[in-house]
Symmetry: C2
Subunit: 220 residues, 2 copies
């Protein structure tokens, strides 16, 4: 729909540039593929990818044996780089309240993933093979939700060891899923307000803090 026939200059059609290093060219192809696939899904054509990268379509096959391997390169580009190692430290910093730490984290995290490219590619990928979803589920659970439960326990003075049960993860999953769904809703309806986002995150954390306090005081 928004892809056009490539008309860089109205007159001269010929593209002047050529002969990049293999690494640079490969990067450009993946860039173009990310952009296209985020719009159209993975059924976007290799010709359109090539057009986006400013090359001819057969050249693509010098860098990727087939379309599937290009798709895998797109996965790697978008999903693997979406976790910032600094976040682990943010979450573990016990000089601040849990709510404050996770507020900071979730604002940064959603800043990274609440973007059309990430959200749409993630959905397209989840629908086409369960592996990507399984990988994402694992990351969220181990890097975000389990730390949340453990840190909250510590804050409330309850020591149940390092293990986190599936039952304890349900509430965090509900809120994390709610935030993800919020991101999709904002993206589809076109609105994307950072202030409102911070408010929703705050409310989600409010709910968890209240719930966990209530739950743990009842268990005593």
């Amino acid at each position: 729909m928004s892809i056009q026939k490539q008309r860089k200059t109205p007159e001269k059609e010929a593209a002047p540039r050529r002969r990049l290093s293999p690494e640079a060219r490969r990067d450009e192809i993946v860039d173009a593929a990310v952009t296209l696939f985020a719009e159209t899904g993975f059924d976007g054509s290799t010709r359109d990818v090539a057009r986006g990268a400013g090359i001819t379509q057969p050249l693509l096959y010098r860098y990727f044996p087939n379309k599937e391997s290009l798709i895998e390169a797109v996965y790697a580009r978008v999903f693997l780089k979406s976790w910032d190692p600094a976040w682990d430290e943010t979450l573990a910093d016990r000089s601040l309240p849990v709510q404050e730490r996770f507020q900071t984290f979730y604002e940064a995290y959603t800043d990274a993933i609440f973007q059309p490219v990430w959200l749409r590619l993630w959905h397209f990928a989840s629908l086409r093979d369960a592996e990507v979803y399984g990988w994402y589920k694992e990351v969220v659970q181990e890097q975000i939700l389990k730390p949340l439960v453990r840190e909250r326990r510590a804050e409330l003075g309850v020591n149940q060891g390092f293990q986190v049960s599936a039952a304890e993860l349900e509430a965090p999953w509900l809120l994390h899923g709610g935030l993800l769904n919020y991101g999709l809703r904002m993206q589809v309806t076109g609105r994307a307000d950072a202030n409102a986002r911070a408010g929703v995150i705050r409310q989600a954390l409010d709910m968890y803090m209240l719930f966990s306090q209530n739950k743990l005081s009842l268990d005593k």
Copy 2:
């Protein structure tokens, strides 16, 4: 992947049946399209739809002017019938506590939509045009979330009139979105346990009841 070359009987290939009423044939085509598109997305071919319906591909064009109109028929079939009018009464029955009413409702509702066909088609549709998503958002907000806020207010003895502000909808949206996300997670990972589902719904409603009580008592 699971679509095969149609081999009803190993020997006799010819399909004996023909000549249905236009309404019946149309229904069969839409059925087949729903099944196929839920698997492959809307890029599933008209030939595979026809094969699933046991007819030849050009016949499809006697009932639908083009593929797009077939897709719209699929929307109508799957999404429009997904609301049971009896649910409105369930939600309004003030002889029961709000939590109990919405527990009953959400178990029935998720029973209807936590199915591969609904969830996958909904995601495919949301990704391909925002209109479907907008329609769904409206239904959820007006039929489920606003009633939830109003009924909860009444239960807590707070009267703020009929209007429900966007701010008040945030918490319900978080939990509803969390449930939707839970459905997707269960579907992708292959697990679908009705007991576990009821438990998650209960927990979501617990969280909302606790949160709304806390919020409204602070506002007083």
